[in-house]
């Protein structure tokens, strides 16, 4: 029994080591601290979406991936769980990054492959979708780009 347990531990340890996640410096993104006025989504008389508010803004994303230059990695856009709660984001890109969507508490893949330049840049159309019944005050929504090294 002992050898089997030992091997199982090794496998787990290897997985942990491979799943190293690092937050990417996106300090070159503009606007970096954007303001967004949300509007009501379609007010269907009998629609479950009647309480949703949405807003879209354009971001010039600039990710500093120089620490991983000439290596391969997977980049995710993460939306940590935060107020106002039921929050989601979807985005389109110019092609350098992948389009996608994410709900609060999750993350979505935006890049996978070799990193051949110190910076990855793209223009992103980001749309936020929230429950309007929670919008009695303003909120700061935090995002982060994460690197999973391969």
């Amino acid at each position: 029994m002992r050898p089997l347990l030992h091997c199982a531990f090794c496998i787990i340890w290897l997985n942990v080591a491979l799943a190293k996640t690092t937050v990417i410096d996106d300090g070159g993104t503009l606007p970096y601290n954007a303001s967004l006025a949300l509007r009501w989504q379609q007010p269907s008389p009998r629609s479950p979406d009647a309480n949703r508010m949405v807003g879209t803004l354009t971001l010039r994303v600039r990710l500093n991936v120089s620490p991983w230059l000439r290596r391969s990695g997977r980049i995710y856009l993460a939306l940590p769980a935060q107020q106002p709660g039921t929050l989601s984001a979807r985005w389109s890109t110019q092609g350098r990054l992948l389009a996608g969507q994410v709900s609060a508490g999750g993350r979505a893949l935006v890049y996978a492959g070799p990193l051949t330049t110190p910076f990855i840049e793209d223009t992103v159309q980001l749309t936020l979708d929230v429950d309007g019944r929670r919008m009695q005050q303003a909120y700061q929504v935090n995002f982060r780009f994460e690197m999973d090294e391969e």
Binding site: W13, A17, K20, T21, T22, V23, I24, D25, D26, G27, T29, Y32, N33, A34, S35, L36, A37, L38, R39, W40, Q42, P43, S44, P45, R46, A50, N51, M53, G55, L57, L59, V61, N64, L126, L128, V130, G132, R133, R134, M135, Q136, Q137, A138, Y139, Q140, V141, N142, F143, R144, F145
Partner: protein, 207 residues
């Protein structure tokens, strides 16, 4: 053997973290809109349109043939409003001149399932030039909408309560509500010949 790896991971997460933020706020947290008869809209609401003010006061009327006055047969009334389309999505919801459009919406960011009331301030009577009167209680309406089938209407059928402020419908929070009304005159009494007029004021009240 574990300790160096653990320290390396810790260092990766404890470095200064850059992450962009978006400050969100409700652009229009509270909105109300009420339209009775002809209205105006900048575009359509489901495409980002916004309400415009329309000061038109529409008329609903009927001319009772002399031979039919007071015979107890209700007389269908028609409106001078040509509003057939809903400003929500441009759907042809009402059939004027038989039907009068009534609709609106109520938007609020509070966490509730509240509704707002729409009321009618009803004069005691319609009056002609000679001072003769007809009770507003002789005017009733039915309610429907194209494509609605038999579902309950937000502005249901009713009869005016003369000289009162009566609730004539509700609008749920964050919903668009609309109905089409067909009015009729009860025609159950003989009155002096004349043109009887009166004005009902419709009000949407939100907290």
């Amino acid at each position: 053997m574990l300790r160096p790896a653990f320290l390396a991971l810790l260092a990766a997460f404890s470095a200064p973290l850059a992450a962009f933020t978006v400050n969100i706020a409700a652009g229009t947290p509270r909105m109300v809109f009420l339209q009775v008869g002809l209205g105006s809209f900048n575009g359509l609401y489901d495409n980002g349109g916004t309400p415009l003010n329309n000061t038109t006061i529409n008329k609903v009327s009927v001319t009772v043939p002399a031979a039919a006055v007071g015979n107890g047969t209700a007389q269908a009334m028609t409106t001078d409003s040509a509003q057939a389309h809903s400003f929500w999505d441009n759907y042809v919801f009402c059939n004027p001149p038989q039907e009068l459009y009534i609709g609106g919406f109520y938007r609020a960011t509070n966490n509730g399932t509240g509704t707002v009331l729409v009321s009618a301030t009803v004069p005691t009577a319609l009056v002609d030039g000679a001072g003769d009167t007809l009770s507003f209680g002789k005017v009733s309406w039915t309610s429907r909408g194209n494509g609605d089938g038999n579902i309950a209407q937000p502005f249901p059928a009713g009869t005016f309560n003369a000289g009162t402020v009566q609730t004539i419908g509700t609008i749920g929070q964050n919903q668009w509500a609309e109905s089409c009304w067909t009015f009729s005159y009860k025609n159950d009494s003989v009155t002096a010949a004349g043109t009887y007029t009166g004005r009902v004021l419709y009000t949407l009240t939100a907290p």
